[in-house]
Amino acid sequence: MAVKLPDVKHNWSHKRNTVTIGATRDAGGTRNHSIQVGGESTLPFYHFEGDIPNPPAVAMEVWDIPPEDWPEPIREPFQEVGHTPGEWARKCVEEYGAECICLRLKGCDPHGANRSPEEAVLSAKSILESVGVPLIVWGCGNDEKDNDVFPLLAEAIAGENCLLGTITQDNYKTLTALCTAYGHKLIAESPVDINIAKQVNILALDAGFPLENIVIYPTSGALGYGIEYVYSIMERSTIAGLRGDKAMAMPILCDIGIEVWKTKEARASQDEIPEWGDANRRGALWEATTAYVYLLAGADILILRHPEAVQAVKTFIKKLMGGES
């Protein structure tokens, strides 16, 4: 006679927020489709006790300037298209199955190419013209310059319901106001610190921005480079959100490619470290595995670079969503 098991299903009192990115023609934009992230009423992939209405989304990263410092395994696939963001984005979507494009305005960096706000607008527009997926636009990271670029950019892509970032506790007013004015969603960044993560959300709320339109970016470390700190912060955030903390119920974004492709494990050639094996596959798998870990901690949007990593992460998401036969 079979034993009866005690019931261990948790009845979480709240759901995590659902955020929609991208606007179709009906919604005032030009996207072929929008994506929804978040909305879970349980921990990542715990289908046995709650709803997971939206699979995590995989975005690929595109720059406004050619990715000259990218190492071989991720430079090679974009060799032909790296100088035109629109073509680059098209390759990501049509050939590699990106569900979303993240334009990083690397070229606007005043310590680099120092491109103008007008040039940034052209890059964003060219992507919107060549692909139909939703768009994320990520500033160059220099507060002053970003506050210079985003006013023009946010207006130029008004109505497209893009995800723009990032705001931090020291620099949130400009971008928050722009996202309110032009109908975009916001990425709130915090430095691997759960209290600051909450604080940035509250600052945006106080500036009149609805918490429901925020995606949080708790900083992403690569596998082997502090991933466990971020992992635990994401688990704690997710649990807090499910328990009803409204300032912690946001979907989580992980910016993975940029972190992974700095690491030695992803960059070193096989000649340099023969015992680590094939460099191309090692780098791709280092990126994919970093993403796997974040998926299990509650990631809703993952930004990746290597086509094989994108493929692998999408396959794993499908499997964890119950799409495996």
């Binding site: 006679m1 079979a2 034993v3 009866k4 098991l5 005690p6 261990v8 992939f45 715990y46 289908h47 046995f48 410092d69 310590h111 680099g112 990271g141 470390g221 596998l223 082997g224 480079y225 502090g226 991933i227 466990e228 700190y229 992992y231 635990s232 688990e235 704690r236 649990i239 700095k262 690491t263 030695k264 494990e265 960059r267 015992e275 680590w276 094996g277 094939d278 460099a279 596959r281 090692r282 791709a284 798998l285 280092w286 994919a288 595995t289 796997y292 870990v293 299990l296 901690a297 094989e308 493929q311 692998a312 396959t315 794993f316 499997k319 964890l320 119950g322 495996e324 036969s325």
Partner: protein, 449 residues
Amino acid sequence: MPKKLTGIEIYKLLPKTNCGDCNLPTCMAFAMQVAAKKKALESCPHVSEEAKEALGEAQAPPMRTVKIGSGKKEFTMGGETVLFRHEEKFHHPTGVAIRVPDNMTKEELQGHIHNINQLHFVRAGEELGINLLAVEHRDGDKGKFAETVKEVMALSDLPLLLVCSETSVLQPALEAAGNSRPLICSATADNWEEMASLATQYQAPLTVKCNTLEECADLTAKIKEKGVEDICLDLTGDTFLQSFSNLIMTRRLSLEKSFRPLGYPTLVFPTSHQPFERAAEATACICKYCSIVVLEKGDSWELLPVLTVRQNIYTDPQVPNAIEARLYKIGEPGPEAPVLLTTNFALTYFTVAGEVESSKTSCFVSVVDTGGLGVLNAYADDKLTPEVVIKTIQEQGALEQVQHKKIIIPGLVAVLRMEIQEETGWEVIIGPEEAAGLPTFLRNEWRAS
């Protein structure tokens, strides 16, 4: 923590006579002391056997700790106490086992074991490698299984899993394994009685494999009655998602409900043959509580990330992660190379080192012992002061390696600059606040002369 009985629950087990023989005025006071572990239950001369048993059971850990193998490479698993690593820590890192089928030729087998022996990496000062070998009986020659076990034991000192459901094939292999306590895989509803007696006879831990968790619980109870206590649960399901759910349910049942029949370590055989998918399944097993994950032979590029996931997830979150404080060389720094200063918080150091590497500027990095604190915390805690910086630079001899007298300090502690400069005459340069700014900084702002 094992689920403890509360004072009230203990009180219910006492005679409630307030006799005072325990030197406390009331039974309730005594119960509270027992709950707080300040008094032993035995201090009550009148306590019943029933009460002792109930309390003993409640004090046993909710998940059993099981060991496989013997000697230096003995593998310990189970004994976990929390669902999330931030609550305390995960105790026993997931064991990575590699399959060794018994239908290989002698040469193939030797090559396979040789490759596994080669698979070890050093990361953040820790050795990472394979923990176990899963010798598997495939269809065919029955004598081959014991023979393979013998050969494997001659080639490797890793503990073994013996994967074979036919007791007649298994017994000679157990005989060959001697007293090395291999993990037997697996007892099922069909063979459990014979398996349990083999486990008893050879004092080996035993895996239980069923279709549902209910059947598993039923079977472990029966096996325990036969005297086998060292049990492991094979939770591999029909799909990976099923294995994943099984792992989570089992962990919750044992820790949240103290459900003894499933209070054991676990193992999963990922089924994917594609290396990226296999690594994904292994990652999920490691993050979600699996005690042993059995993989096919993997190339080093496949295993390195998997072993790193394990290292990271099983890091104790309560212990500041520190590296050795000394002078590090990144690249091949010469007499013109910059000298950077940072703390010995591992994350800080590895971030700095990563940025310096990607900048392609060879540097010396002088690492201050801040007890594993990051820059700002160390400063706030008086572990990163002008005196400490000067002492560190002098003792590590960083400026003896170069022809300049310049040091670059983290931008977050720019305030230290003047005092160090006045004290030593060195030129103190303020570096970027974030390590991410290092490549640009080194490219644009660093000049040796």
